[in-house]
Amino acid sequence: MTLVSDRLPPYARAMGMRIEGLLDGSPLLVMDFSDRAMGRPGFLHGGAIAGMLEIAAIMALHAELGEEDARVRIKPVNISVEYLRGGVTVETFARGQVIRAGRRIANVRAEAWQADREKPLASCWMNFLLKPKT
């Protein structure tokens, strides 16, 4: 079985995201601050935060699917992000949680935070279509 960290796509690697083990059963995604993620001066770009939430959700789903993961393609259907606080120029964490993974649809939530997990920067829900690989 491939490691979940091997599933990080080029976009996630380019943004400097990495997986640091599991947190409460889901992969913990970490991103050091860099200018690549900066939006308005001194703050993370909202798109970079959303991109991190998406990767965290996808990694949580890969982990949840286990052996089935090799047989299906995960297609994002939609995402709704709510922004709660500005992200500053420090390390950011994100974790996804699979609410339900059925045969065709998976519903996943994710949260991103910085110094204090109790003070999330943003959260999202995402729906995915699971399609057998042909």
Binding site: M38, P41, G42, I55, S80, R85
Partner: protein
Amino acid sequence: MNSTPDSSGGRPSIPPDMAFDPSRFGKFMMKHGHTGFIGMQYRGHGDNWVELGLPWREDLVGDPETGVLASGPIISLLDNATSMSVWALRGGFRPQVTLDLRVDYVRAATPGKMIVAWAECYQLKQSMAFVRGIAHDGDIADPVAHAAGIFIQVEADGWARPSKPDAPEGAGA
């Protein structure tokens, strides 16, 4: 708040109520930070809309097996296009942060093709701006994604250049 120029990433801050020229803003912003890194480009604007582009790039791919772009850069593109559409309608720059943003990915983007995002501010209120946008890869009648979001209009104080990792609440992009 004790702001220091050092925390601005070396960029000048934008004074509130500065006249907004999307093409000038686009040229400047697209050289810096996240927008610069992913290669966002200004394409055009009107009274209440802005169009931006994002050329396909291998290091922005989300699925190496297919070469399809990750959805993250597409969200970033829609975030910027919708945000700039508010300033286009206002005719001036005013600090704002993203309250929420929803994106429906109606089909996979074609590998190798530039993504174009067209976005408009369809309702501008005292404290909220309501926006929507479409991302496509050449034909707006055959979109890749639809977006809807809300930006909160905020005070300039604390909007940029923080000195402490304790940012104002409700502050996204």
